[in-house]
Assembly symmetry: C2
Homo-oligomer: 334 residues x 2
């Protein structure tokens, strides 16, 4: 087989260490990927208005596939959030987060097996806000037919391709009749095209209550931006937190940018203490996107086995292993 | 002591039955309250634009205290949601929901002891929405200094009066810098006036993740309307659902309208199967507001004891008791 070029953003803080873990694991599994590494800059690039350079974005546009570690937006003026810049510049319209209970890692829940699909470009994240008069401010939530159809189409496509049975659209259309109403209308239109996939609509407050009582009732969830932000983190909490949950972003022109959504943990950066699980699992999502299913399965199983055995857990999971001990254990299992 | 007049909205569906339970319990505990009952109308009252009559609202304005069962907004045109009408007409600016694990009723969590305080009049519930061009709709989230200060003041006042230690303001000001930013600014201003109460700010996605991992970390939470809608239901889920959680609304001019926030359950209406716990616990909140602390304590303890014993649980809690069997058991414990 040929070698695939993929962009790697190791990111800040613990990012470079956990990116090293992924490279090591990919080597052992014989993944034919050549990385193009790009680091967060030290000066604002005027073309992106952020510390992310234009060249690094070009790399993803060219390769159409990439992996991203945590990026902390430096404090100060004159630049945009790095995460939002990526979403905007690359048209990352769907954030996909599978959320599965990890065998052997005990939380209050053992039957979580769902996927959240978040609209990632508009809604409450429009950035349109202003003061109306002193003491009165407003912000605009924008819902478009185009973005709603696109994310709904992706959700149903995902459900079908992954043998899922049901898509639940999450909303508050009883209050936001027009915006969330349009979102639902688009979901219904797409649902018609997938008669083999069940479709339901769930109000967000009720959804959150059901998630904490009985998450096993959900399968694939699709929703506007802010609801996705909230619910995907809630779901991560059910299985142990952001250190354990993979994510990937689907963008315009078929881009797939896998991403660990946890923070950059500057307090333990460089200390060989970070948990590389979320980035490894995100890398597995990237491999599946590339249809490297054999390597994806082997790496995925090795990660699950290492966590289940419990001998080499990192500190965030209550263990004593270093990043490299955990990574070596995963490599041994491949 | 004198007799207090209070408004009672039994509501729809199971409302009248569970309101009967409250009356029975109040009688047994010797609560000196005389009810003014008002039912949801069958025709739209033009002054309220809803099935709620103007007289019923006048009753609450006059008595300043009331209890409300579930109201289902009938489907059709020409009227507003009953719940939203109440909030608007009575200026119900804070929705207060204590959420405590019930001893003896097992869920995945046994250490929940928190209170959510929701801004109840503005934010995402402005009702301001429109189509910009075809396929593009927007809705306005409105945050005002006045409403934010008012709910923040109530939250700190509540914390102090109830021996609570910390108030957490929940927000997404990293994205909605102006609207949620103003909300936080107002919370900070009020926090200054209460140096004995700790104050922190928590981003909503992180808050939801922490709530499902470790709800014991929270004490009093205050937040804009939609976040309150979501988080209060999430919290109810932690302890078993809306059938078990009381709520009360604080309104302009010192109004206190206690409310069961679950649905009207038309499928079991009139069958003597409904669980009156949420309405009873809401009635207890009303009694505490009236400083009928002795009766409040006796009724509260009787409810907790009945649920803990487990002999007379209703079907929603996995038991076989009827509404009246449960109610009689509570009365026996008073
Ligand atoms: C960091 C923040 C801007 C971001 C968001 O709100 O989308 C984060 O919470 C996420 O989910 O990726
Ligand atoms: C019925 C609905 C309008 C209401 C709301 O969204 O506020 C409900 O969810 C609540 O929390 O009381």
């Amino acid at each position: 087989g040929e070698t695939i070029r993929a962009t790697l953003f190791p990111g800040d803080g613990i990012g470079p260490e956990i990116a090293e873990s992924v490279k090591q694991v990919f080597n052992v599994a014989g993944v034919p990927i050549e990385w193009e590494e790009h680091y967060v800059g030290t000066e604002v690039d005027p073309r992106t208005e952020s510390f992310l350079t234009w060249e690094s974005l070009e790399s993803v546009r060219r390769n159409k596939v990439g992996l991203k570690g945590p990026m902390a937006t430096p404090i100060g003026k004159g630049h945009r959030s790095l995460n939002l810049t990526l979403r905007k510049e690359l048209g990352l319209y769907a954030n996909v987060r599978p959320c599965n209970s990890l065998p052997g890692y005990k939380t209050r829940y053992d039957d979580v097996n769902l996927v959240t699909i978040r609209e990632n470009t508009e809604g409450e994240y429009s950035g349109l806000e202003h003061q109306v008069v002193r003491g009165v401010v407003e912000s605009l939530k924008i819902i478009t037919r185009q973005a709603s159809l696109r994310v709904a189409e992706y959700a149903f496509h995902y459900a079908k391709a992954n043998g899922r049975e049901r898509v639940s659209a999450i909303h508050k259309a009883n209050i936001m009749r027009k915006t969330d109403g349009l979102f639902l209308k688009c979901c219904r239109e797409i649902a018609e095209k997938y008669p083999e996939i069940q479709y339901e609509e769930v109000i967000i407050d009720n959804c959150c209550m059901t998630l904490v009582k009985n998450p096993g009732l959900f399968d694939v969830l699709v929703m506007p931006n802010l609801y996705g932000d909230i619910i995907s983190d809630l779901c991560a909490g059910l299985i142990g937190g952001l250190g354990l949950t993979p994510s990937c972003n689907i963008g315009e022109g078929g881009i797939c940018l896998a991403e660990a959504v946890h923070g950059s943990a500057p307090d333990i950066a460089g200390m060989n203490l970070a948990n590389p699980t979320a980035l490894m699992l995100s890398a597995v999502m990237m491999l599946r996107h590339l249809q490297f299913n054999d390597q994806a399965d082997r790496i995925h199983n090795a990660i699950l086995k290492t966590i289940a055995e419990g001998k080499f857990r990192t500190a965030d999971l209550g263990g004593k292993a270093s990043t490299s001990e955990f990574t070596n254990a995963v490599c041994d299992h491949i």
